[in-house]
């Protein structure tokens, strides 16, 4: 454990030096700059879907509207107009940024559009879970220098790296927080003698408890409930990957592995519990699976970097 903390400490303290090193690699900056329009285009697609959905059949009614602070100003309008304003801002902002992503002004408008639309969608009694993960990454993208149409110097490239790392680190923070909370509550339940996150039937209990509330059977959920032990490695694996996401962010060779496993986490979420998170899915793919760092690394080198089990992997691989 101490070794792990030392490694994490070294990784985070070395982060400005990491930026220095990658700033000399032109390819990394180019990859980041190429990725940006796709991020905005995905949000444009989501904005268009949201706009069409609201115009066809309003998802909520005026009586359910309880504005959160960011969209308090929308209460000055009739509900129909508030819908139109919120969805239009999102659509216009992402449309502009998809076309004119090279200009910071367009990126600011896109951020505002998402921010207000998310606030609007969170004003019906519960936070909107899907788009939430995009807010901070979009905020960080505003700080990218406008360098698409000109040659970059080292300082430009460092600025690009910082903005992109900011988005990646945010992803690391939220997944690790989710992991820490599961571990925390797991120990509490363990001490209380209850079923907990380490129990062999933990995943089966989640599925059996959740599926009746959604009313639709999932593809492999019933099978896992019938054979709880099969769900155990999946659940422990999920805990491991969530917990160490922030560590993986500071180890560029791990980005790809973590991205793939987090995508699998979302796929299994759907297969077992019928839960879909499209927005998070795309963001993980863009920021981690297609991470611009260490793309040429070999699988063995990636695995060796894994926290806690890296040495074991290295030993087994050598054998």
């Amino acid at each position: 454990m101490l070794a792990f903390l030392r490694t994490l400490n070294r990784a985070t303290i070395d982060y400005p030096r990491t930026i220095e090193a990658y700033a000399n690699d032109l390819k990394v900056t180019e990859r980041i700059l190429q990725l940006v329009p796709f991020l905005y285009f995905f949000l444009l697609y989501q904005a268009f879907s949201a706009f069409a959905l609201w115009q066809r059949t309003p998802l909520f009614t005026a009586s359910q509207f309880d504005a959160v602070w960011s969209v308090e100003w929308l209460t000055a309008f009739p509900f129909d107009q508030a819908i139109l304003i919120a969805t239009s801002l999102f659509l216009i902002g992402t449309f502009l940024a998809s076309l004119f992503f090279v200009h910071r002004g367009a990126r600011i408008v896109a951020f505002c559009g998402l921010f207000f639309y998310h606030g609007f969608m969170s004003s019906f009694g519960a936070p909107e879970h899907n788009l939430l993960v995009w807010i901070y990454p979009l905020l960080f993208l505003i700080f990218l220098p406008d360098v698409w149409n000109r040659a970059t110097d080292v300082l430009d490239r460092k600025k690009v790296l910082i903005a992109f790392l900011g988005a990646q680190i945010y992803i690391g923070v939220i997944y690790s927080m989710a992991g820490v909370s599961k571990l925390w509550r797991g120990f509490e339940q363990l001490l209380d003698g209850q079923a907990n996150v380490f129990s062999p039937d933990a995943f089966a209990l989640h599925i059996a408890d959740w599926l009746p509330t959604v009313g639709h059977p999932s593809l492999i959920g019933p099978f896992i409930v019938e054979h709880p032990l099969l769900g155990w490695p999946l659940f422990i694996g999920m805990l491991y990957f969530q917990l160490f996401t922030i560590y993986a962010i500071f180890r560029p060779k791990l980005h790809f592995l973590w991205g793939v496993f987090l995508l699998l986490f979302y796929i299994f979420n759907f297969l077992t519990m019928n839960i879909i998170y499209i927005d998070s899915f795309f963001l993980i793919a863009a920021l981690l699976v297609y991470s611009p760092f260490e793309r040429e690394a070999r699988l063995r080198d990636r695995c060796i970097e894994m926290p806690l089990i890296g040495r074991l992997v290295s030993y087994v691989w050598r054998a």
């Binding site: 985070t12 982060y15 400005p16 930026i19 220095e20 519960a126 936070p127 879970h129 939430l132 993960v133 700080f143 080292v154 300082l155 460092k158 600025k159 910082i162 903005a163 790392l165 900011g166 680190i169 945010y170 923070v173 939220i174 997944y175 927080m177 989710a178 820490v180 909370s181 599961k182 925390w184 509550r185 797991g186 339940q189 209850q194 079923a195 907990n196 996150v197 129990s199 039937d201 933990a202 089966a204 209990l205 989640h206 599925i207 059996a208 408890d209 599926l211 009746p212 509330t213 959604v214 009313g215 019933p222 409930v225 019938e226 709880p228 922030i246």
Partner: protein, 158 residues
Amino acid sequence: MSHTFTYRIRVWAIPSFIVLYFCIAGIPALFYLGSGGEKYLAYHFFVFTEVPSREQVTYAVYVTGVKGETIKPVQIQDADTLLADEWRNRPEYARRIEEFGRELSREVRGGDAQHAFEDLITVRPLSYEIREIRYNPIKRYLAGEIISERVIGSFTVK
């Protein structure tokens, strides 16, 4: 290598952001976990934090309709709403159940529960029976098996 002032600010903005984000959203949410406080802070990170217990308690309302037939049991998730002081005041309790049923029928995602509530409001209820059901989620899911079921209250609508 020269570094501008704004560059230095940018470099240290990220670690500061991590610390602030965790302090503002993460730490309070960890402490408030389970009490509802997390809803306002970082709710989305903390879903499925608690593993469901192997022995759970739920409450079902069995309603007898105007023609005498027994309508499908309606599962009540929020037992506290029903089993509060209103229990002692039966007309008020009946109103609460109907309100709760209508409210839940709007929010509930399961098709069966939706139909059950439609039955409840289209057929004039004559009597209600509240039962406490203890079950293991896995056994109930696989075989509909429950540990115990007991009537904790009933009344007739006047």
